[in-house]
Amino acid sequence: MNKAPDNHDESIKPEQLRPFVERHAAALTLFARTWCRWPEDVVQESFLELARQPRWPQCPVAWIYRVVRNRAISYARAADRRLKHERVVAGARPAWFTVNADAAIDAQTATAALAELPADEREVIVGHLWGGLTFAQLADVTGLPASTAHRRYESGLRRLREQIGIKKGVDTP
């Protein structure tokens, strides 16, 4: 749902917002989790902000990703100041993905590898792979040119593959 449900000049109806939330909540939470430790709060507040808008944004998906990104970065900065003494607890990383036997890659391995990526590459990968954003939308979200977003996506994938340990044409370890 990259476009507004009916007409972006209309106000946001609850029946229009519900499928939008259900479609994007999980990916947005994963997107926010790459920055901060309270992604659910960030996503919840971002959806609330969307609900309070007088009408649908021109591109709701890019809009909500941009809001989530800004909020998550603010949360992370505040948390860095507030929770430096909880570094030990920070080691216990919650699962970013659901454990699924059918998945081609182990969820914990992917979480650890993804967490090791630089933030600028990670946000492009998460936004494109699980958020379904185009590179033009990612450029809108991150403020980068679309070509730069694509380059970061490619280099991030390469780095991620090396960290997970998958060689070309080789199955998961």
Partner: protein, 169 residues
């Protein structure tokens, strides 16, 4: 750019990654729907929006006036009080006091009033008595300061008569 293939089997790796499902989230969707419901029925009359600046402007003007008045009041309160002495012209005082007093028969009440303003200030009863006996009641209504111990002045004829009376007596 979306469909451009990635080199070195990265497309296949991306497809594998996509099989991972983001962890389920716990969110209060009811709160979001409630906010959306409230926002959808919010009424914004265009007239009110058009005149919204007038309220802000009038409030700002009133605030500015209030601040100026308070500033003026505080500046005035900070200055010390000035005492101005005004001198009464002596000529005017003399004119009023030099007016001739009409010798009239003085009523007791009027006499008492005059006496209260002039004679009662004098603490010396004896000098007052002497003055009344010598010059009469009219002397109290004059401008002479009461209580002055004025000597009795006799004329030459009166003085001679007094001497003759003493010698004869």
């Amino acid at each position: 750019m979306n469909d451009s293939p990635l080199p070195n089997g990265l497309d296949e790796f991306a497809a594998r990654l996509r099989t991972l499902a983001p962890a389920a989230v716990e969110m209060d969707q009811d709160q979001i729907m409630f906010a959306a419901g409230r926002a959808s029925v919010r009424v914004r009359p265009p007239k009110i929006a058009a005149f919204a600046w007038a309220w802000a402007l009038s409030t700002a003007a009133l605030l500015l006036i209030s601040l100026v008045l308070v500033w003026q009041w505080r500046a005035a309160a900070a200055q010390p009080a000035r005492v101005v002495y005004v001198e009464v012209p002596i000529a005017a005082t003399l004119t009023t006091s030099a007016e001739p007093q009409a010798p009239t028969n003085i009523e007791p009440q009027a006499f008492a009033r005059q006496l209260s303003s002039a004679a009662l200030d004098a603490s010396n009863y004896l000098s007052l008595r002497r003055r009344v006996l010598a010059d009469g009641l009219e002397s109290l209504t004059g401008s002479d300061p009461p209580g002055a111990d004025t000597p009795v002045i006799y004329s030459a004829g009166q003085y001679r008569e007094l001497l003759n009376a003493q010698e004869g007596g």
